[in-house]
């Protein structure tokens, strides 16, 4: 946290980001005005239900929105450290202007911003054969069957850190050790199918972290895992964060996990960021009715009341046919007729301490 106190501790700024998918049935506004910052050495938790735009936002930061999606507005600014004349200066890169196949973004992706994407099992591509394409730098984030774990880590390291094959292998062994894989000297020569699910996810983390990124995007990294392994993975991520002052963007729908990991929080609903606050404030003094309802709808372990859970009525609306006004109003317990179904709420500061929400309860209308 040494740099956190400095003025320039922002690593990524997302400003009014809009991502659209132009599909046959119309345009889906997958992300519709997301604004938040990711700061050095801190964890930003992004929560929301499936389809709310969490993952698309993460992909937009890395300039890898899948087709037919495109960034339709707003900007992503990455504060990049560059060496010029021997001293480090911060260069602000506007990520959405970069060529998605260009050199700059390829260096950032995987090298400066590491990624762990959802579902380690299905990230396996079955088309690679043994030993092929060792120097190819594309499959950085995929564990390819028939190729040794060590080779795959070494490849990432080589692509981004310009070291020899032997050095890359050493780094690979070291990384496996750090993520808690037993007998790393032997495991470095294993194939992915020889590893358990938890071990595979740890290898993914090792790959993502092997280039000492300044930021890690973790998209549901533990969703497929058991609690005991999940706990280990979270510990590893926190440990590494402490040692290298890495920023983490932690995307999940598990409120328990995010409470353990995050200092800053963003809540998304139907492509919109509906609330932003620090974690303690969000869990104790949530302002937006959606956040409050989410927090109430989960059972708390150790606190069995025998009562029913407070559920959010209704369903997530059809993305082609969004309700007018506030998109949450048909399900909202604090619905104000005549207001919420007509006026689109704006992004309002609801509390002095950088607590923002998008709700008419906190606006003068």
């Amino acid at each position: 946290m040494s740099e956190a106190s400095k003025k320039d501790d922002i690593l990524v700024e997302v400003k009014d980001l809009k991502v659209e998918f132009d599909v046959r049935d119309g345009i889906i506004h997958a992300v519709d005005g997301a604004t938040f910052n990711i700061r050095v050495g801190r964890t930003l938790g992004v929560i929301g239900e499936s389809g709310c735009g969490k993952s698309v936002t993460a992909r937009a930061i890395l300039c890898m929105v899948p087709k037919p999606g495109k960034v339709a507005g707003g900007e992503v600014l990455y504060h990049r450290k560059v060496k010029s004349n021997g001293s480090e200066v911060t260069d602000i890169v506007r990520v959405n202007d970069l060529d998605p196949d260009g050199d700059t973004i390829r260096q950032i992706r995987g090298g400066e911003i590491g990624m762990i994407f959802q579902e380690p099992m299905s990230s396996l591509t079955p088309v690679y054969t043994a030993g092929s394409h060792i120097y190819e730098a594309v499959s950085l984030h995929r564990l390819t069957p028939f190729r040794k774990v060590g080779d795959q880590i070494a490849e990432t390291v080589q692509a981004h850190r310009q070291v020899t094959k032997e050095e890359a292998r050493e780094i690979g062994i070291d990384m496996l050790q750090r993520v808690g894989i037993p007998k790393p000297q032997e495991r470095v020569d294993s194939y992915p199918h020889q590893l358990s699910g938890g071990q595979r996810q740890r290898v993914m983390i090792a790959i993502a972290l092997s280039c000492q990124p300044r930021m890690l995007i973790a998209d549901e990294p533990t969703t497929a895992l058991d609690v005991s392994i999940e706990a280990q993975i979270l510990d590893i991520m926190r440990e590494l964060q402490d040692t290298v002052d890495m920023a983490i963007m932690f995307i999940t729908h598990n409120l328990g996990v995010v409470a353990e990991m995050a200092q800053d929080m963003v809540v998304m609903y139907m492509g919109k960021v509906v609330e932003k606050a620090n974690a303690v404030e969000l869990f104790y003094e949530a302002k937006h009715p959606y956040t409050r309802a989410l927090l109430k709808s989960i059972p708390h372990v150790g606190r069995r009341t025998g009562e029913r859970l407070a559920s959010i009525e209704g369903m997530v609306p059809d993305p082609f046919n969004l309700p007018p006004g506030c998109v949450f109003h048909p399900r909202c317990p604090d619905f104000m007729p005549g207001k919420c179904d007509r006026i689109v709420p704006s992004w309002t500061q609801v509390d002095g301490d950088d607590h923002w929400a998008r709700c008419l309860l906190y606006e003068e209308v």
Binding site: S196, D226, S228, A259, E260, L294, L309, S311
Partner: protein, 350 residues
């Protein structure tokens, strides 16, 4: 066919009593499919379910939760054990008797399956995409010869309304529904034959938080209305605690501990339960967790360690743990544990 139940309980309200259930899957190798070993997916477990109550079954993936429930309903043929079930299917006057499911033939089992239903984890994979909702929900009725007439449509309408869907949904196909709605279709299908016992296999783990709450509430309402008993298999400990009256914790094919939900969560007796509880992430950023680290990986069910299967990862293990298998004992009333040292350990709950 009728037998006496031998449990410490008064047996009147017990509807399912499982004794020493085993399910071993053979490992076959070579040209002649020679059996070289067994995966002991479920290894000598005993539990019972009372009428109208929920028994939660938790544990890490691969511990045998699903295999246990499938073996009871005889989707898998059990290797050993007794499965006693109380039913009125075999008498004309509605008189209930206790039968051993393992002794029943195909036709008798078919009768029993009217009283036992199953809800599956995957709301996409468990519904046939080429059948309409009407066909899906009425299929159990047709199979058991109760469908076909005009009353079938009435029944389906009633079922759909009961699970919170609209009757006009019955002409639609599964792909037109969201995950939560599909799970409701699965629940309607499970209710079609008025079962008394439903095996819920991870029914909410594929659902979003808000939909999960709706589904859990629905399951609880249905339980109250129809006096259903649930065997609720899940890996989410907070969900299991919320819905279950009693909970059994499984580890590598065996039940490590079984007790009333509150007793198990607050005063666990097995070190594995304690470690599992400490790993549950709490939705409170101010909570300082003291996590108990279990060294190593889950034991391999085809080659389990000697003695207590948990001893290589147990922080309290002593010599006897690696030599002798513990006994399944009732240490406190209704609190069963499978550990040599349970009586002397002071363990921490949540």
């Amino acid at each position: 066919m009728a037998e006496r139940l031998e449990t410490t309980e008064t047996s009147d309200n017990i509807i399912l009593d499982v004794q020493g259930l085993k399910k071993y899957f053979p490992i076959q190798r070579g040209l002649f499919r020679k059996v070289v070993g067994y995966v002991k997916a479920v290894d000598n477990i005993s539990f019972f379910v009372r009428e109208g109550e929920t028994l939660g079954l938790v544990g890490e993936s691969g511990c045998g939760k699903t295999t246990a429930s499938r073996s009871i309903i005889r989707l898998y043929e059990p290797t050993a054990g007794q499965i006693h079930f109380r039913t009125a299917q075999f008498s004309a006057d509605g008189h209930e008797e206790i039968v051993n499911l393992r002794e029943l033939d195909r036709d008798q089992m078919k009768l029993i399956r009217q009283e036992m239903a199953m809800i599956f984890q995957d709301p996409v994979g468990s519904l046939n995409p080429r059948m309409s909702v009407f066909d899906i929900v009425s299929e159990p009725l047709v199979i058991h010869g109760r469908g076909g007439g005009p009353e079938t449509e009435e029944t389906v309408t009633r079922l759909l309304e009961r699970v919170g869907l609209r009757p006009e949904h019955m002409r639609r196909y599964p792909h037109e529904f969201s995950g939560g709605q599909r799970q409701r279709i699965g629940i309607a299908r499970a209710l079609a034959l008025n079962p008394r016992l439903i095996f819920c296999d991870e029914p909410v783990s594929a659902l979003d938080v808000s939909i999960q709450a709706q589904t859990l509430n629905l399951l609880q309402d249905l339980q109250a209305d129809f006096n259903l008993a649930y065997v609720f298999v899940a890996h989410d400990l907070s969900v299991v605690q919320h819905i279950s009256d009693r909970v059994a914790v499984m580890y590598v094919g065996k039940i490590a501990e079984m007790a009333a939900s509150d007793a198990l969560y607050n005063n666990p007796l097995h070190p594995y339960t304690e470690a599992l509880m400490s790993a549950v992430p709490k939705p409170d950023p101010l909570y300082e967790s003291e996590r108990i680290v279990m060294p190593g990986d889950v034991a391999d069910p085809s080659n389990p360690p000697p003695g207590c299967y948990f001893h290589p990862r147990c922080n309290y293990a002593i010599d006897i743990c690696s030599q002798e298998e513990p006994e399944w004992r009732e240490l406190k009333p209704d609190h069963f544990v499978f550990c040599h040292r349970a009586h002397e350990l002071q363990l921490r709950g949540v």
